[in-house]
């Protein structure tokens, strides 16, 4: 027996040091401060909501992985991310049983149906939210103000509704706390239905009391920046979304400053920042080509502003991201990078020189190997 001289292996030959599990774990770490702030805003109702929704997601994930319906493992943290994000997009006083339904639907319809992690077409958390939005339209539009006194000792009454039963009316509970019903409306709903514009500075930190807002956009941006700096997330998508939403909103504001709110209000109200940083950047549902990421992000930003301004709904981030998710394979197709050695018109370039770092190899990948610079031999002129 002689030893083989050539070792034959199949691709991939270059492997990054990051595994799915590492990336997902770091996303969970970066979500923890946001969840903590959310609990600080809304008290034990928010805590219970986060726990129940995440537990429902994990339960569904475990069931479908066990029965062999979907790929992946429970320990890859992806279901935890789905659960945390889903809980953050629901109102804090959302009935817990509806939260559980949302979690189960998110994993079953959004993920298991397509074959598990990496195969899903739509962001699972948003699938779950879209389902409960269509099933329970009143409950999902019922917000309560943040920083209420006694929020750490008392549940928001609607949280504890019996399964399958209508939750208690939040307006009565708010009246007992000497707050008017308008305090429970989100800034976007207030602007849309009552014409009241919130101050963008207040929205940015979410700290000026008794507003019905989600976690502070500035905190989400900081946590997102951590992920982007560690290269666990592509910075192009959030930047494209925020840029395109700001541009669209600014153009409309410049066109008619009375009818349309200022762009800062558009950016920091509702779930735009959370959606841009955490939902739209889901690796399985966004394009992988750098150009495609810009197109995808721009589409989300534009659609969000259009839905907010011209539809019956106050908030449009969810539908914008779901539509862009559906479009992302198409976007990927039309933004394919030019193959090495080919011109834009799909012909071999004459006298081509190539940069050391071609655009299609992500410069951020520490261990990625770039092809060596090569010159094509000149053809003799006739």
């Amino acid at each position: 027996m002689t030893q083989p001289l050539i070792e034959i292996r199949s691709a991939p030959h270059v492997q990054g040091p990051k595994s799915v599990e590492t990336i997902m774990r770091h996303v969970v770490y970066s979500l923890l401060p946001i969840c903590a702030f959310y609990v600080f805003q809304y008290g034990i109702s928010a805590l219970a909501s986060i726990l129940v929704v995440t537990a429902a997601c994990l339960f569904a994930e475990r069931y479908f992985v066990r029965t062999g319906t979907q790929a992946g493992r429970l320990s890859d943290y992806s279901a935890v991310i789905t659960g945390l994000l889903l809980a953050l997009t629901l109102p804090p006083g959302f009935p817990l049983w509806m939260g559980a339904v949302a979690g189960l639907v998110a994993i079953a319809l959004g993920k298991a149906l397509f074959g598990g992690i990496g195969f899903n077409v739509f962001n699972p958390a948003l699938v779950g939210r879209a389902f409960v939005q269509a099933a329970f339209p009143t409950a999902i539009a019922t917000y309560t103000p943040s920083f209420l006194a006694g929020r750490f000792t008392e549940f928001i009454p609607s949280s504890l509704a019996w399964p399958l039963m209508i939750p208690a009316d939040a307006a009565i509970w708010l009246k007992a706390k000497n707050l008017d019903a308008l305090a429970g409306a989100t800034p976007l709903a207030k602007w849309k239905f009552d014409g009241v514009l919130a101050n963008a500075g207040d929205l940015l930190t979410s700290l000026s009391g008794n507003m019905a807002v989600g976690p502070a956009p500035v905190l989400i941006l900081v946590c997102g920046a951590y992920l982007a700096l560690r290269r666990f997330m592509d910075w192009r998508i959030p930047l494209a979304i925020i840029g395109s939403a700001a541009l669209t909103a600014w153009l409309l504001y410049a066109f008619d400053g009375v009818r349309y709110p200022n762009p800062f209000f558009m950016l920091f109200s509702g779930g735009l920042i959370l959606g841009a940083v955490y939902m739209a950047t889901d690796m399985a549902t966004s394009p992988v080509t750098p150009k495609g990421m810009w197109v995808y992000g721009a589409l989300i930003g534009l659609l969000t502003v259009v839905i907010r301004y011209y539809s019956g709904l106050p908030e449009g981030v969810m539908y914008a991201i779901l539509i862009a998710n559906a479009a992302s394979p198409l976007i990927e197709r039309i933004t394919q990078p030019v193959p090495f050695g080919r011109g834009v018109l799909d012909r071999a370039k004459k006298r081509a020189t190539y940069p050391l770092n071609p655009g299609y190899i992500s410069r951020e990948e520490a261990s990625a190997v770039t092809p060596k610079k090569r010159f094509l031999p000149k053809k003799p002129k006739k």
């Binding site: 009935p95 509806m98 319809l109 389902f131 269509a134 099933a135 329970f136 339209p137 409950a139 509704a161 019996w162 399958l164 039963m165 209508i166 939750p167």
Partner: protein, 216 residues
């Protein structure tokens, strides 16, 4: 039981189970998705379709030897349309509310592919009695399909069954279940369930076969 009775039973059960129009052949999806918001609607739609199916299959079968091949589809359509008109007026006379709830879908039974399919594939080749038995099986199968969707959608979408409240006054209706997406979700869930049953049956048969060969 003589062999012809076994054959007749087989003929009947083909539509109810093995070739169920809703869950196996996936035919007649328009009424399946559109009128299954409540059990009463689903049941009346299923029964009307079944009546039209039995009657028109019987007549098509009786006329199979005198129908010229070139115009057979037109003949089928005229026959089916006749019976649909009868059913249409009958439902209008029995309950106007039900007639309004079912809307155009009663008239659309004319173009229901289950009926035309049965007329072309079975009734035109068989004597009247087997044709009508087969049609009855198909009709019952279709009614079962509609009921399966209607039960789930009415319980979740309104908290009632046959109009009787199941959960008391405080029930939170799932609005999505009475909307078109709910129809698709419930249909998908039932299809999953039936394909799971079918696969389980197949697995068990294979296991039995393997056991038998090992014993031999």
């Amino acid at each position: 039981m003589n062999p012809s009775a076994a054959d007749t039973w087989d003929e009947f059960m083909e539509g109810v189970w093995r070739q169920n129009p809703t869950f196996v052949m996936i035919l007649g999806m328009c009424p399946t998705l559109a009128v299954t918001v409540s059990v009463v609607n689903a049941l009346s739609m299923g029964i009307s379709t079944m009546l039209v199916l039995i009657a028109s299959c019987g007549l098509v079968s009786m006329m199979r030897n005198i129908t010229p091949k070139e115009v057979r589809i037109a003949v089928y359509i005229v026959i089916i349309a006749t019976f649909v008109t009868v059913v249409d007026y009958a439902i209008q006379a029995i309950s106007l509310a039900l007639y309004d709830a079912l809307g155009a879908f009663i008239q659309l039974i004319v173009v229901n592919c289950i009926i035309l399919g049965r007329a072309e594939a079975h009734a035109a080749k068989n004597p009247p009695l087997p044709a009508m038995i087969n049609a009855a099986g198909m009709g019952i199968g279709f009614t079962i399909g509609l009921l399966a969707l209607g039960v789930v959608r009415e319980i979740l979408g309104a908290g009632t069954l046959f109009g009787v409240a199941l959960f008391g006054a405080g029930f939170q209706p799932w609005v999505i279940m009475v909307l078109p997406p709910g129809g698709f979700f419930v249909l998908g869930a039932w299809l999953l369930f039936f394909s799971w049953l079918e696969r389980r049956k197949l697995r068990r048969q294979q296991a039995k076969l393997v056991e038998a060969t090992q014993n031999a």
